[in-house]
Assembly symmetry: C3
Homo-oligomer: 139 residues x 3
């Protein structure tokens, strides 16, 4: 099986932790053809992030947003403020959370646990489209 | 060399940062057969995490536990509190630390630095067993 | 195409977030020969880290340094203090940021976004050389 690599574009999302498992999987139908492998997702931005977290209770993404905004607060004495008060905290959160994920593939499905979902963490107030380079390898 | 993929079950651990390098390596004897490759570990949970840190001084995991519990404190005004005060902070720590690791393999061994060990970060007071999907590729 | 694996040694850096994209890429000329693949970088240390962040404004790495030093402060009541007040915060930051990166390769280049650069996060006041195991796979 050759390598598969494709850019997945996510539509603009409001600030916060947004579940995107379904969008990602539906953009990558080749996952279903692999018995074993790895999916690598690489977000090409520095003011948003990718993470895996609880996919069921809608309070969880709200608590993640308020928690990360407390850890990297807007009232911190930043130098890099030209793009607004949400910009430099977005860069801090991007490094706290990370911009890539690797997820195993087994029998045509992502090996996510029962309660695991893929989140786009949009840290800007007006984030725009977000590009992910998806790379799949397997057999 | 084909892909190797296997679930590794870690026995219940008390809350804190627990060194599991030996358990992981002994569950994956195929590492010793590879001259070059990558081991991917994917924890299928959202209230625990995997990280690499200092493997020698037993004070380090205690300081990691107290530091991460200060960064994501239990007295934060969370909405998602139905599973107890340790639950939502556990989700925050899971995203701060991440649920997966990729470690290079060289000449039959993991390429860990002298002071590096693999930690299971158990963030729940009563965590139970934890499942890791291990995926190995190499030659 | 066989696997490529090599140790890249970074010269000692002052404490802070240091852009090393150029050093990494120039040490790995094989990237230019691949049409598709993945580069994995694994830092073999527990008091430094690797991250991807904004590569343009020199204020950003200064703000990242001050932000992470506020999140993992030196005046925290740590037990592991024998190597100085910067040591245990360095371990906390190492786990917050992570010690490895996976970056997709496309048409002979790393698929970094326009504003993305690779940072070595040196958390020690006197860090010394830092070793990275680079593993490349592709075709």
């Amino acid at each position: 099986m050759p390598w598969i690599q494709r850019t997945v574009v996510l539509s603009p999302q409001p600030r916060g932790f947004q579940l995107v498992t379904r969008e990602i999987v539906s953009a990558l139908p080749e996952i279903s053809e692999l018995s074993v492998g790895l999916l690598h997702l690489f977000l090409q931005h520095t003011s948003a992030a990718l993470t895996i977290n609880e996919n069921a209770d809608p309070d969880v993404p709200l608590d993640l947003e308020s928690s990360f905004s407390a850890i990297a607060p807007e009232d911190f004495p930043h130098r890099h403020t030209c793009e607004g008060p949400d910009d430099m905290p977005a860069h801090v959160k991007a490094s706290l959370l990370g911009n890539s994920l690797s997820i195993p593939i087994h029998n045509g499905n992502l090996c996510l646990g029962t309660w695991q979902g893929i989140y786009l963490c949009e840290h800007r107030n007006q984030g725009g489209q977000r590009q992910i380079v998806a790379t799949i390898q397997g057999e």
